[in-house]
């Protein structure tokens, strides 16, 4: 039996709108998540924002005025992690410009983090990861596809969910990546 008063029926954990209701003031309207377990790699072109299309998911907003909170996470290994910056694109357009004129500098939302503390980088068995949130207001009812981007100051290879060597030994990890979208009412 549905119990209704005004525009709401309520569960033990809170009010549940059932008619004449619209999300306002930052409510989460819908979420979309893609868990990436593919073990792969891709080439990085020097100083270019490369689309990591393995880490990608889509959403269609219920209102063009709503916003999108994006969470992206990469696990893997890449040469010169300290020269690699991460960002996002929406439908092929780079989204996470830092807002200043970068000149020849690398740019993006943030760099990644390593799990190895030593004098030199270990390009073999040492995974790294990055994760971050970004907020977007696309102003569109079209399907929106968000993709992680990777920018390296050197031409190198990005390994996704694996280490460089990926040997069948217990000091070599296999991991996962993911990307999640939250539609936020405005």
């Amino acid at each position: 039996m549905a119990v209704v008063m005004g525009n709401y029926a309520v569960t033990a954990n809170g009010n549940i709108p059932i008619s004449g209701y619209s999300h306002t003031g930052g409510g989460v309207v819908q979420t979309s998540y893609s868990h990436v377990t593919t073990i792969t790699s891709r080439s990085l072109t020097i100083n270019s924002n490369i689309s990591v299309t393995e880490i990608q998911t889509s959403i269609t907003l219920t209102s063009a005025s709503n916003g999108v909170l994006i969470y992206a996470r990469w696990s893997g290994e890449v040469d010169n992690l300290w020269n690699v910056m991460w960002g996002l694109e929406r439908n092929g357009t780079y989204l996470t410009d830092p807002g200043n004129t970068p000149g020849s500098r690398g740019y993006g939302v943030l760099p990644g983090g390593d799990c190895y503390a030593a004098a030199a980088e270990n390009n073999g068995s040492t995974p790294a990861m990055v994760d971050f949130w970004w907020y977007d207001e696309p102003g569109s009812l079209n399907t929106l596809t968000y993709t992680l981007t990777c920018r390296s100051a050197t031409g190198t290879v990005l390994y996704i969910n694996r280490t460089f060597s990926d040997t069948n030994n217990n000091v070599y990890q296999r991991m996962t990546s993911g990307i999640m979208l939250w539609e936020i009412a405005r």
Binding site: V10, P127, N170, R174, M175
Partner: protein, 192 residues
Amino acid sequence: MAILGSNYLQTNYIAPSSFAQNGGIIQTVCKDITTQVAQPIYANTHTTVSNTAALIYPKRQTSSILIYVRWCFEVTSLYTCNFGLLQEAFYGGVDLRNTQIGLPPYLSAQLPGITCGMDTYSANAANDQSTPAQMNFWYRDTVPSGVQSLTYRPTVMPSTNRTLYLNRTILNSNTTAFELLTSAIYLFEVSG
């Protein structure tokens, strides 16, 4: 049934299927962990750490559960650890099923996990006394058919036996170079 306010009723009624389709959030469970723990972890084994689990009672069988995990810790040889998530599904009575979820495909001897950790120190050698690390991830799980409750336990898998120090460094000395930290696990039931 109890009236909570002019626009609200408290009932046991489950929300109609017309509500919160396509990913709306139905309920949340948030657990912040401030206890310091030192616990053995075992080679090539997905090991849980005490006091880091969270329990949820899904309102709908069609829901999914968004899980956020963050650990701050120190462990020797972080670079040979991997982190994941154990799902304990309770169906009533004695029917409790454990599943390590979210893993990638892996070769037989490798360490599989959802993510690796990140260190805060880069110098001539690993510092195994005062250097905290962290790991965090989000994952979306589906609600198993017929389940009554779900407990999610973060796990760590090292390549050798060692000790994980949660929310503290290994030495944990009373000086400014030794940090105390927090960890967390949050669950969000999402309509499907």
